[in-house]
């Protein structure tokens, strides 16, 4: 990254205010001053596009959701009737489904991603680091719909034959594995989400671990710690905030992921905690029902789902960013397109 320190403007201020004698020289400098101001204004305009975009998204969602907000109030969040014919809408099943599938994804993805990050920064031989990092990041380049396709025709048959039977044999008595596994289910959605968020968590965690000063490691090693003990007692605690940030960033991705989940989760308006049963997510509901929404209230209810999803992901992402910045200040970690 930059080595001239964060927070400093890139132009040294003194440069433009050099005392220069002679009127013609001053004239040209004044001219330059005006064009400089114009240049700065143009760039500022482009930069302002981002906050503007953010406010516009929020405003559009809010205004479009207003009829549903007025009609159902906060009970929209915890009632579970979704009946377009009776014009009654409650988003509880999809909110629960979103949380459960994302939670399952995090549960599977975090050990994998942290394993990759620790391996790449602490244990891998140098020649292996770049290729493995590259391969894991390639996972992030696979389009969501391709994950969906693979999930439908490869992952679900695999789960049906190789994963669900042994799982049921061992843990079949728990409430999480009740019912018959038809394929499209919370389990399938959660597993595909896990594969999809591994590269994000791994890439950000890796950069967080790289930002941990070498002196931390060396101090632990000098005290007689093994490499693993140094990682556990010095490196991980130092980067803890950033690692939690990385995980929360992955959670944000999982909450809003649409296509692959829509194709795999089963899309059923029901609250259940069995992993084998179909479920629904907020993003999937919008993807499935938006084009069939015939009445204004139906549209409005879907916009309210969008509003809830947007607000939740913004809050989650903001928390993640703040945590990551605490370890690696101002760096664009993880925001680079992988």
């Amino acid at each position: 990254m930059t080595d001239f320190g964060e927070g400093t403007g890139s132009f040294p201020r003194a440069m433009t205010s050099l005392p220069i004698e002679g009127s013609s020289r001053r004239q040209s400098l004044l001219g330059a001053d005006r064009s400089d101001r114009i240049y700065r204004r143009i760039l500022t305009g482009f930069a302002l596009a981002l906050p503007l975009l953010f406010l516009m998204i929020l405003a559009v969602l809010f205004v479009s959701a207003l009829p549903a907000l007025r009609r159902f109030g906060p009970s929209f969040l915890w009632t579970s009737t979704w009946d377009p014919v009776a014009e009654l809408y409650g988003a509880a099943p999809m909110i629960v489904g979103t949380l459960l599938s994302s939670f399952l994804a995090i549960l599977i993805a975090v050990p994998l991603a942290l394993g990759v990050a620790i391996f790449l920064t602490e244990f891998a031989p140098r020649w292996l680091r770049q290729p493995v990092a590259f391969l894991v990041e390639l996972l992030a380049a696979i389009p969501s719909v391709v994950y969906g396709l693979w999930g439908v025709f490869v992952l679900i048959p695999f789960l049906r034959t190789a994963v669900v039977p042994p799982l049921k044999a061992v843990l079949g008595w728990t409430p999480f594995l009740q019912g018959v596994f038809y394929g499209n289910s919370l389990l399938a959605g959660g597993v595909i989400l896990a594969i999809m968020i591994v590269p994000y968590i791994a890439a950000v965690s890796r950069e967080v671990l790289l930002a941990v000063p070498g002196s931390q490691r060396e101090a632990a090693l000098a005290m007689g710690a093994t490499r693993w003990e140094a990682v556990r007692s010095a490196v991980l605690p130092y980067g803890r905030a950033g690692l939690i940030g990385a995980i929360i960033l992955g959670l944000g991705r999982a909450l809003g992921e649409t296509m692959a989940v829509t194709m795999l989760i089963g899309n059923r308006h029901d609250i259940g905690i069995s992993l084998l049963q179909p479920a629904y997510t907020m993003a999937a509901a919008i993807a499935n029902e938006f084009s069939e929404a015939t009445t204004n209230m139906y549209h409005s209810a879907l916009f309210e789902v969008g509003l809830v999803l947007f607000v939740v992901t913004v809050v989650v992402n903001a928390i993640a960013r703040i945590l990551i910045w605490r370890v690696a200040r101002g760096a664009a970690i993880g925001s680079r397109a992988l």
């Binding site: 040294p12 953010f54 390639l138 809003g256």
Partner: protein, 268 residues
């Protein structure tokens, strides 16, 4: 414990190998000349291709780049050149937060802005949605690339009496140009695979269409429809389309990565 992290990394890489392997195994056999040159045939018949979807992807993504690249790169230049103040902090933070916004939400926002007032699904609406996705990403990569330009270069230009705007454009931006262009390419590759924001905007189209005010097919929409449809023939075409889309995305990302490495070395 070393064995554990090695095993975990192995599993992650294995997932990639499996997915790419399946794409090639199930997709490659369906790819022939007709696949690239013909439009889809009616459901139930065999044969046909995805020429319209390939052209559509090009148009929708190209238009998105036309809208998104200037704004994204401009915002990134602001962040790198003047971004040390309060506005810089806000813009940087919002860019990072918008980067994680679900693309389906952007889709319904673009629907509200363009499809609803014009009463028509259109490629243009899809492009606007993709451009909105692209902007925060490009702003941050541009900023990063511009910040890599050595400070001494700036100072040299300023010392020669160059005004700041010329220094910024002719020296700084020019030096970072390769980085900025590759950043744009990676951003384009990423939105080229997007489906969710196109569902209610570009919509999809079974026929050839070159009009940006009409619905348009893209590879991603085609894969979604074919994968979730009931016909064996469709599934075959879905795998082939997925292989083509993946190839496209990979080609752009790999080129970008290779160019960056040539330019900036293989540091982290």
């Amino acid at each position: 414990m070393t064995a554990l992290v090695v095993a975990l990394s192995f599993i992650a890489v294995l997932a990639l190998v499996l997915i790419l392997g399946d794409l090639v195994l199930k997709g490659a056999s369906s790819i022939d000349w007709a696949f690239f040159t013909r439009s889809p045939v009616p459901a139930g018949q065999t044969g046909g291709g995805v020429a319209n979807a390939i052209v559509g992807t090009g148009i929708v993504v190209g238009l998105a780049a036309l809208i998104g690249v200037p704004i994204g790169v401009g915002a990134g230049m602001y962040l790198a050149e003047y971004g040390s103040g309060k506005l810089g902090f806000i813009v940087r933070f919002i860019a990072d937060v918008l980067n994680g916004t679900p693309s389906i939400v952007i889709g319904i926002v673009a629907w509200t802005f363009i499809v609803r007032p014009t009463h028509r699904f259109s490629a243009l609406a899809g492009s606007v949605a993709l451009a909105i996705l692209m902007i925060p990403m490009l702003a941050r990569t541009t900023e990063e690339m511009v910040r890599l330009v050595p400070h001494s270069l700036r100072e040299a230009a300023l010392a020669l009496g160059y005004p700041r705007w010329r220094t910024s454009l002719k020296v700084v931006a020019r030096t970072a140009l390769t980085g900025i262009v590759t950043g744009c390419l990676v951003g384009i590759a990423r939105v080229a695979g997007e489906t969710a924001p196109l569902l209610f905007t570009a919509l999809g189209n079974l026929n050839f269409s070159f009009s940006v005010t009409q619905p348009m097919q893209t590879l991603s929409l085609q894969i979604y429809v074919y994968a979730t449809g009931p016909f064996e023939e469709w599934h075959r075409l879905a795998w082939a389309s997925a292989l083509v889309l993946m190839g496209l995305v990979l080609m752009i990302s790999l080129t970008a990565r290779w160019v960056t490495r040539q330019r900036y070395g293989s540091g982290s």
